[in-house]
């Protein structure tokens, strides 16, 4: 197997691949990557050897800060923008942080017990870099309740799946619907920085149509997001303003319906889905246009290697996180180095299909139902755009399956709506055992997404 290249710092990678016109475009500003290789976004304060909490509002400020901090700070704790201040204080304390790098107003931090602040803004200024050190990267898990876990990575692990750019390729322009401070988004930022590419950053408050026009105006060619992100794109009347060459899905189950819908909408694009998580890192990419993955990726001799234990996918690779930070110590991997992904898979005819999350099981009178497997069936119905399956408490069976459904074309409540609900249920009954068929279907205008771009589920 090919040796991994020696890890560089972000700044070294930028300097060595400084294309003349490489840019990082945010929603409200832009920076030339060549300037970033030389400059610092910090107004004052020394970050050398310190443990830094990176808590900016803007993604562009975060990207600039990361370039400066990698190789200088001992540890960077990368916070998503929606992290509550109460969690921020807990995380800073647990991680032994001695400074916060932020673009926020001082008043935002009033009343919170936090380390001293170092301001960063969007104008790089000249900067003398000392000899680089190896920086520990700490990413936060995207759980919906409680303080997120802190997951420790090295830059080498984070960039382990990135292939060097092929000479002669038309330089891609990357974009992601993720925030770059989450694993999926950070992967794309690193791809752009290490791959001689430009990138367009997302903005949480931006309407989908505006975002798509911004992607189009910068000539974006490669775009990544969750299936939920992509469904939002396909639901937008502006989805045809972009013409990507590569469409990438990750973060949730990419079912055949969404893969086919994207292929229809963007016939010139390669559509692929990737398996990755904050803890397990990038696992594999599937580019044959089919849901699931071929069984021949399983085996313990390769890197990364995968195995299925108790129907759950386990991963060992040099791209996984090294440990969790904080006390009490939590175990990340088993004694053989495998990380339990919690993703339940089922094998059919030489291919594995994602069934759902182990923690998300609905128990209907003792029978297990994965919400995602029901959603995949509902989503195949021609009238259905997307769906969210959940549990409703029930006095007879403990819980029962119910579904919220978004239609391609809304239907007024009445006989037509009732008939369509019956048709969807009949469709489900043909594919699923009775206990997995929703007891009730509700038509909704939209489904809520987490800040990480995944459908909001009752049990996170």
């Amino acid at each position: 197997m090919a040796q991994q290249p020696e890890p560089q710092t972000l700044r070294q990678a930028l300097a060595s691949a400084a294309g003349a016109k490489r840019m990082l475009w945010g929603a409200r500003g832009a920076v030339a990557l060549a300037d970033l290789a030389e400059g610092s976004a910090f107004r004052d304060g020394d970050v050398s050897g310190r443990s830094i909490v990176l808590a900016t509002h803007a993604q562009l400020a975060a990207a600039q800060a990361l370039v400066v901090l990698d190789g200088m700070a001992q540890r960077i704790i990368v916070c998503p923008p929606d992290l509550p201040f109460a969690h921020l204080a807990a995380i800073a304390a647990e991680a032994g942080a001695d400074a916060i790098v932020t673009d926020r107003d001082e008043t935002d931090f009033a009343g919170h017990d936090l380390p001293p602040r170092i301001a960063c803004d969007l104008v790089p200024r000249s900067h003398e870099a000392a000899a680089p050190i190896t920086t520990e990267w700490v990413l936060l898990t995207s759980g919906t309740t409680g303080v997120p876990k802190m997951v420790v990575h090295s830059l080498a692990a984070l960039t382990g799946a990135i292939k060097p750019p092929q000479s002669g390729d038309a330089a891609p322009v990357w974009a992601t619907f993720y925030d770059i401070r989450r694993y999926g988004g950070l992967q794309i930022l690193l791809r752009a920085l290490f791959g001689n590419r430009s990138m367009v950053l997302s903005d949480a408050g931006e309407p989908v149509a505006d975002h798509l026009h911004r992607l189009a105006s910068h000539g974006v060619t490669h775009i990544s997001g969750t299936p939920s992100h992509w469904r939002r794109v396909l639901m937008s009347s502006e989805c045809n303003v972009i013409s990507p060459r590569y469409v990438r899905l990750s973060g949730e189950i990419a079912d055949q319906t969404i893969l086919d819908a994207l292929k229809r909408q963007y016939p010139a694009a390669a559509v692929g889905h990737a398996y990755a998580s904050t803890e397990a890192g990038v696992g594999f990419e599937v580019n044959d246009g089919l849901e699931g993955f071929p069984a021949d990726i399983l085996g313990e001799t390769r890197d990364p290697s995968f195995k299925v234990v108790d129907d759950t996918l386990r991963i060992r690779s040099r791209r996984t996180a090294s440990c969790y930070l904080g006390s009490p110590p939590q175990t990340l991997m088993d004694e053989d180095g495998f990380i339990d992904s919690g993703d339940v898979v089922a094998e059919r005819e030489g291919r594995y299909y994602f069934v759902g999350r182990r923690g998300g099981i609905i128990n209907v009178g003792g029978l297990k139902v994965h919400p995602e497997e029901v959603e995949q069936i509902i989503n195949r119905h021609e009238a259905v755009k997307m769906s969210l399956v959940g549990a409703r408490r029930n006095p007879i069976t403990g819980a029962i399956v119910v579904a919220d459904v978004v239609l391609h074309k809304p239907v007024e409540p009445g006989p037509d709506s009732d008939a369509l609900k019956q048709d969807i249920l009949t469709f489900c009954r043909a594919e699923l055992p009775a206990h997995k068929v929703p007891a009730a279907v509700k038509f909704v205008a939209a489904l809520e997404m987490t800040p990480a771009g995944k459908l909001v589920r009752q049990n996170g």
């Binding site: 209907v364 009178g365 409703r392 408490r393 029930n394 006095p395 007879i396 069976t397 029962i400 119910v402 249920l425 009954r429 009775a434 206990h435 007891a439 009730a440 509700k442």
Partner: protein, 82 residues
């Protein structure tokens, strides 16, 4: 539609959906012998909650579980005024 008729029509619809044969619906029909299994009852309670806007199982404190179809209808009728 009255609560009784709503319950009857839902039972008939669920029986048709689940392809189970049910006994004629009358007050003294024992639920355990109605032909509906526990999944059918679970669906029935969920659908009635959507139709009627309440679930008497969730609100009735110490009420015993209805044994006959007549009990079941009264359980929902009482739930409406609870």
């Amino acid at each position: 539609m009255s609560i009784r008729l709503t319950i009857y029509s839902q039972i008939e619809q669920i029986a048709a959906e689940q392809k189970v044969k049910i006994q004629p619906l009358r007050d003294d029909l024992l639920l355990s012998e109605s032909g509906l299994d526990s999944l059918c009852f679970a669906i029935l309670v969920a659908r009635l909650e959507d139709k009627l806007g309440y679930d008497p199982f969730a609100t009735a404190a110490d009420a015993g579980f209805p044994v006959t179809l007549g009990d079941f209808v009264r359980f929902y009728e009482n739930g409406a005024t609870a």
